[in-house]
Amino acid sequence: MAAPGIIVVGGGLAGLSAVIKIAEAGGTVDLFSIVPVKRSHSVCAQGGINAAKNLKGEGDTTDQHFDDTIYGGDFLANQTPVKAMCEAAPAIIDLLDRMGVPFNRTPEGLLDFRRFGGTLYHRTAFAGATTGQQLLYALDEQVRRYEAEGKVHKYEGWEFLSAVVDSRRVARGIVAMDLRSMALRAFPADAVILATGGIGAIFGKSTNSVVCTGSAQSAVYQQGVYYANGEFIQVHPTSIPGEDKLRLMSESARGEGGRVWVPRKPGDKRQGKQIPESERFYFLEEWYPKYGNLVPRDVATRAIHKVVYELGLGIDGQAMVYLDLTHIDRATLNRKLEGILEIYEKFVGDDPREVPMKIFPGMHYTMGGVWVDNDQMTNIPGLFAAGECEYQYHGANRLGANSLVSCIHGGFVAGLNSLRYAKSAPAVEGDSGAAAEIARQAGINKELIHNEGNENPFRLWRELGTTMTEHATVIRYNKGLKQADEKILELLDRYNRVNLSDKSQWANTSFAFARQLYNMLELSRTVVQGAILRDESRGAHYKPDFPERNDEKYLKTTKASFTGDISGPRFEFEAVDTQFIKPRPRRYDAVK
């Protein structure tokens, strides 16, 4: 029998991890990515990667890591895969180290570890301030090696459009579009792994990269894959609002004494520095006198959100508040915060030592995603998923530095299981539905290119982002969520009148974007409607009308399936695997 041929879609940490496992075990891989894989979004991760290596004499264990992860995720994660991930983590760090990742070192030449949010242990290995970049490069290099050996064929600049699913509902390959010639092509495979990252673009501006649209997840969701826990979206309290995207501002700015405030007068036009002390509203300090500016992330996020959207006190009427370091002397700032202040200077153009920084919470991470079983396989046999695009490792909230380890672990598990599956997969019949799928996709393309409406896809996208950010991020009210769903319906209707100003068939980026936009719209409904159904507050999902966690009713995985109906997805709920750790209240103001 010929070596199994697996398709991996996405070249971030999860995708490349899967590729490496498959190639190593003797399979061949066709690797698809919109961007050259070395430019995948994983490069953006800064902080580090968690593993209980216990190199600091603290008695850290993988069980402790497991507990922190489950607790941090507010008990929504299935415990079996999370336990396996935490146990695999130390060996993953060692492997990355052997691959040449320039992790920071102790004087003895061992790996250095730092502390991160949500744990009391030094558990986070890091490579400067660019850990994600360094890890991605290490995996990219290994994949390049397999590519040189002929075991991996890269299709960079190709976009996944859909899975090829045969009459028995088994995945047999994919249909992809060449983003230069816009040609459609079906690629057969014994198994397919999706590793297509987060869905930040649904929120307009986020800390995610441009390619993180969730388009691939949405495409398979529309083909019958469950989309799970879509309502769980992590928002980072301090990001730098940009005209093009949001960029992270490290929490250490507040740790070093940064004060958060807004002008007391709504729409005050003065520059921050000119506003006298008495006219400034230090809302965190006033509302939380005990913790002040150092309240936990979710509390800070909600407070900022409230000040802007409920009190209308954002700077100059915009969705921004000040994070002020100007009361601290330059020398101290340079000594402690130089790196992050330079980022602000580079992308904003202001010197944060002189001018208060403008920040706002930003959509950061997608906890939910494609539903998979413990083998990383979706409910369509032969179709696997790994990394941020699937749902299973972070529950209701992700701990810092857990994303990198979940991507790599998930990729490894998916890679090995896809091979095992491929070896015993049922025989293919006919062309397995490839021709029909190509025809369907060609039809969509044709309709889009010949549409003579009056809507611009980029403007529709902006409206989607505004709506989603306002109603479906930090604070959620059922009324607002319903408005958002209605808005999405309106946008779906207007999408039918999309008119592309560019109708060419060569490197037509607006054409590719318009296709993604439709998928974003469909996926948005799982987020919004999932949030409507969950009348509780858990992890990143917060409803002031239901401020408590309700395990009795909602200790459940949300599973959305596509109906094609105007009412949106059909939902069902699945019990969470809690066999190892009994759920307990999650509070960071007391010892857990």
Partner: protein, 249 residues
């Protein structure tokens, strides 16, 4: 009060065989505007300065944080990353052109895959035995990490190649980025096993000898990688390797 505006001149080319044309755009100025956000604005409202309808600009971009290396282009003549190019710091009209040394795809989008092929040619990887658990990696002192880390920050933007007078279709010069990667992997305790092969590779046609040491690479590098140091170090190693090979036959 008239609104403050920003003007752009963008070099457009619908396809590799189409003629290049310049289009002018005038956009409303916004705080913190960068070149990418300007092009996003054009996509949402694709009209030239004189009101003529046009198409959104095709360009590469992804992270917009100067870490993925996608959005390199020539801005006012100079190669740089568009995401960190703030409009307020640029002379207007802001001229946007594609990188000139790479095959053009469309508008500002070019094909930089030659770098990835070069990385393959010099075996820029650590040839690990396998991904199974083989215990911890080699010990390495902080000083060694500090030497390697900057080299590992290369984002493959190809600016160093674009600005190099020697990187062109006559020389097929490999460029500074790849040479720095050779140094990176030769300095790793297990990566070193391929050191000789990498050095011999770099002595091939288009190899390190084509460097004219104009030092533009190190000036332009957005990540401030010590590229000229790498060229010197690797240059010496290649000479020694070739001499050894010659003497040993």
């Amino acid at each position: 009060m008239p609104t403050k505006t920003v003007s752009f001149e963008i070099r457009r080319q619908a396809s590799p065989d189409a003629p290049a044309v310049w289009e002018s755009f005038e956009l409303e100025w916004r705080t913190g505007m960068n070149v990418i956000s300007a092009m996003m604005e054009i996509a949402a409202n694709p009209r030239t300065r004189d009101g003529r309808e046009t198409t959104p600009i095709t360009y590469d971009s992804n992270c917009l944080e100067e870490i993925c290396g996608s959005c390199a282009m020539r801005i006012n003549g100079r190669a740089r990353m568009a995401c960190s190019a703030l409009v307020d710091n640029l002379e207007q009209p802001i001229r946007l052109e594609p990188l000139s040394k790479f095959p053009l795809i469309r508008d500002l989008q070019v094909d930089r895959s030659v770098l990835f092929q070069n990385l393959k040619a010099v075996k820029a990887w650590v040839p690990i035995d396998g991904t199974y658990d083989l215990g911890s990696g080699p010990r390495m002192f902080p000083q060694e990490q500090e030497e390697r880390y900057p080299l590992s920050n290369c984002i493959s933007c190809c600016c160093c190649m674009e600005v190099c007078p020697q990187f062109n279709e006559n020389t097929n010069f490999v460029g500074a980025a790849t040479i720095a990667q050779v140094k990176l992997f030769n300095s790793h305790p297990s990566g070193e096993v391929l050191k000789e092969e990498r050095l011999r590779a770099l002595a091939g046609d288009g190899g390190i000898q084509e460097c004219g040491y104009a030092q533009n690479c190190v000036e332009i590098c957005p990540k401030c990688i010590p590229l000229t140091n790498a060229i010197s170090d690797v240059g010496r190693d290649v000479v020694i390797q070739k001499a050894k090979d010659w003497l040993r036959g």
